[in-house]
């Protein structure tokens, strides 16, 4: 910007822009999708390019809950508690078909999609999803964060 020019913006847009590049995720990794999550996080796909490179293993320091892997009915109350412990604003990503819908599990043990327990912002299908689809889901989440969209 040259001398004498000025810059207008809306505060929430500025905050949204800042937030979308400082995603501190809580990886709730329970199953095989975790391998793909690790592949996404490592240097080849490098999730740090999107400002999401630092997982926080405390829900109180995290913005985005990555639910990675099958959730059983026994695990469901734990997941709900983790979600409740996160401070707002918070977002949830369902990573893999098991978290989206239960996947190919239809039995006594498995939760049929985590959206029966907690609200979900972005669904990333796949068994497990390729790192490309994870990055695609992450960018969709960034778009949501940028406009301040949240589901409560």
């Amino acid at each position: 910007m040259g001398v004498g020019s000025f810059f207008t913006s809306r505060l929430d847009e500025a905050i949204g822009w800042a937030r979308k590049y400082s995603i501190f995720q809580y990886p709730f990794v329970t199953a095989c999708c975790g391998m793909e999550y690790m592949a996404t996080a490592c240097s080849h796909y490098d999730v740090d390019r999107f400002g999401a490179g630092l997982p926080r293993f405390s829900p109180r320091q995290a913005d985005v809950l990555f639910v990675v892997g099958t959730i059983s009915h026994k695990m469901a109350p734990v997941l709900k508690r983790i979600y409740d412990q996160m401070t707002e604003p918070k977002w949830v990503v369902a990573f893999g078909v098991c978290t989206c819908t239960g996947g190919f599990y239809d039995n006594y043990a498995t939760v049929m999609g985590i959206d029966t327990i907690i609200p979900v912002d972005v669904y990333i299908p796949g068994c497990p999803p390729r790192p490309e689809s994870v990055l695609d889901g992450l960018m969709k989440l960034q778009d949501k964060i940028a406009v301040g969209a949240q589901r409560y």
């Binding site: 026994k74 469901a76 049929m112």
Partner: protein, 165 residues
Amino acid sequence: MDGGAILERLRARLGSAIVETHDRHGDHTAVVAREALPAALSLCRDDAELGFDVLMDLTAVDYQKYPGREDGPRFEVVYHLYSIAHNHRVRIKVRVDEDDAVVPTAVPLWPIANWFEREVWDMFGVRFEGHPDPRRLLMYEEFVGHPLRKDYPINRRQPLIGPRI
């Protein structure tokens, strides 16, 4: 020792307590009467020739509605034994009925049996007499029934939280 000799030795020591034996697909198997199970298992572990020092697996089978087994005892508890010293294996089975689904515990012989037996109790509802900690292993305490029994409804859900779908 080859499998036939193992079964022969079991028959010689335990006599009529061995209900039947077979070696289908090369897996030598002895079906033992429940009363003789502790004696049979300790023999397997402590006999110098047998020397089964590893309990590789302990599981159960529900034969309800199984063709040809409709009126036989409903459950079979299966022990897979392995000897590191002799590099040989044997499979021990014991049959129990539904209304008396109790088997003596193997925990004093092989401590690994602790979790195996808890899993069998959890999934099939076969109780192990003398088990030091007879709780469920995999499912939660609130869970009603035993999910791997053939008469457990395939679409029955017991969620702790969330909708009952």
